[in-house]
């Protein structure tokens, strides 16, 4: 019997400690320090950075970012849930090709995709041209540099991240359970709400995480489609770290995002744990 695992088994924990755990702890440490006069970090303990985050100006950035990420998540779920279901019901011969068509955007450079969306929404782009041709508008409407443009961009980039986990949940769904529910007298809605949704909850949770968390940080989506500064936490962090060079303050904001990450992971663990191994 094996008693001693080989040295390589320790390599992964070592790597992750060094490049995942340690950096997070250092961010937490920096968030408790002060910026000194020369723009560096003074090793003095302070909670001032967190106090500063309570300023309505910064709270608004956080609120806005959370709302936008939540909106993108809900939209992805609304579009992706029926889509993933229908995809899982497509004839087996067609499924691999259709699935590949979902994976291609997932693998395509997301900046290139955001840029493509910009082309579509531009003042003289196809969407405006279509609306003009249909006679719905008389002159091009401003689609770029608006809140909805950013939301559309986030949904466009992140939709495959929602669809793929949902699809794998639907693929595992035992359709005899749905038949059983119907036999026992459940209506369409009851079957959906009390059988299908709970059984696909792990996919809903995984997809929502994969959309919500990245959506907080994708500063290039607002840069390319939004224009307005400080719309996402990502833009704010980028500014604090690279332009304002106020690392302790930026670190405090990062700690909030990290805390949010852990809350999400805990919720995710409960959903997965609650429904058995899905």
């Amino acid at each position: 019997m094996r008693t001693q695992p080989p040295a390589f088994a320790y390599f992964l924990p070592l790597w992750l400690t060094l490049f995942t755990l340690l950096p997070l702890l250092m961010v937490a440490a920096v968030s408790l320090m002060r910026r000194d006069e020369s723009g560096l970090i003074a090793p003095v303990f302070t909670l001032a950075n967190y106090a500063r985050l309570l300023d309505p100006l910064y709270l608004r950035v956080f609120g806005h970012s959370l709302a936008l990420a939540a909106l993108a998540t809900v939209l992805c779920l609304l579009v992706g849930y029926p889509f993933a279901y229908l995809l899982s019901r497509v004839r087996a011969g067609w499924r691999p090709a259709l699935l590949t068509l979902v994976i291609v955007p997932f693998w395509t450079n997301s900046l290139a995709r955001v840029y493509a969306m910009r082309g579509l929404l531009a003042a003289k782009g196809p969407v405006n041209a279509l609306l003009l041709a249909l006679g719905w508008i008389d002159e091009p409407v401003r689609l770029l540099y608006t809140g909805p443009a950013v939301a559309i961009g986030l949904v466009y980039v992140l939709l495959p991240f929602m669809v793929l986990p949902l699809y794998s949940s639907f693929e595992k769904l035992d359709h005899r359970l749905i038949e059983a529910a119907r036999d026992l007298g459940a209506g369409r809605f009851a079957t959906f709400w009390r059988v299908i949704v709970p059984l696909t909850a792990p996919g809903i949770a995984a997809g929502s995480l994969l959309v919500f968390l990245p959506a907080l940080g994708m500063f290039y989506v607002t840069d390319v489609l939004g224009g307005a500064r400080g719309l996402l936490v990502g833009n704010f962090l980028k500014d604090q770290f690279l332009d304002a060079r106020d690392w302790p303050f930026g670190a405090a904001a990062s700690v909030l995002v990290i805390a949010l990450l852990f809350v999400c992971l805990a919720l995710y663990g409960r959903v997965r744990g609650g429904v058995g191994h899905g």
Partner: protein
């Protein structure tokens, strides 16, 4: 109904890319109307030295990070699958954290680490960062393959006299090869795709393709970007097809 809905969502996913590819052949600089066909934008790309440099940098980082991530990730997955050891639970927890961390958090925290360690930002910091975000995906891909196959095969090898190392090298790794290759390809793609992490951990000396595109896009509309994005789209089509083929052949 079902077909219409599927078609609509596919349309949403592909229409912007299709329009962009069409624009990349349009001679009009302002993309207002169709004026025939041209390859000028592709020619401009081919002549842009800075761009070529950035593309080479990106390919080098993606290739190296994917390879390093695949080695560490495969050994890590085998380690998690075969052995019970101190740090195992920690590794599993950190894998989840690493996979779910928004890029912005990864970028910021690695920047803090590298600056604190006084590592000069550039090639090495990009390589370590990219290897880091690829790693969990390789571990998960390989681990799911390992969990899918028959443990009896390893025991059979050992009954036939194979030592631990021989069983790993001759049985476990060959069985995982499709997953290992798919993990490498996914890592390669993740690396080519990344904007956010690279933005934080690169120095002025070392520019990678996504950051080059980012600065081109921010400077205003350039039709060359359409051509470049079309090429990236073609590349991902190729890579996805390759990975699908790798994952779906042979016994799972």
């Amino acid at each position: 109904m079902a077909r219409v809905y599927l078609a609509l969502v596919y349309g949403f996913l592909y229409l912007p890319m299709a329009v962009l590819v069409a624009y990349s052949f349009n001679p009009s600089k302002y993309a207002t109307r169709w004026e025939g066909w041209t390859l000028d934008w592709y020619r401009n790309l081919a002549l842009d030295e800075g761009l070529k440099q950035a593309a080479l940098h990106s390919l080098a980082i993606a290739g190296l990070a994917a390879s390093l991530g695949t080695v560490v990730g495969t050994l890590g997955a085998v380690g998690l699958y075969r052995y019970r050891f101190r740090g195992r639970a920690l590794a599993q927890g950190l894998l989840l954290v690493g996979m779910m961390s928004p890029d912005i958090v990864v970028g910021v925290s690695l920047l803090v680490l590298f600056i604190a360690l006084r590592v000069e930002l550039g090639f090495w910091t990009l390589l370590l960062a990219h290897t880091g975000f690829c790693l969990p995906f390789v571990v998960v891909t390989v681990l799911s393959r390992l969990q899918g196959f028959d443990r009896g095969l390893i025991e059979a090898a050992q009954d036939l006299g194979a030592g631990e190392a021989a069983a790993l090298a001759r049985v476990v790794v060959p069985l995982c090869l499709p997953a290992i290759a798919a993990g490498w390809l996914l890592s390669f793609t993740l690396s080519l795709d990344d904007v956010v992490v690279s933005f934080f951990v690169t120095g002025p000396e070392f520019e990678v393709l996504p950051l080059r595109i980012y600065s081109m896009v921010r400077l205003g509309v350039k039709p060359e970007v359409n051509a470049l994005a079309s090429l990236l789209f073609a590349l991902s089509l190729l890579l996805v097809s390759l990975s699908q083929w790798l994952l779906h052949r042979g016994p799972r």
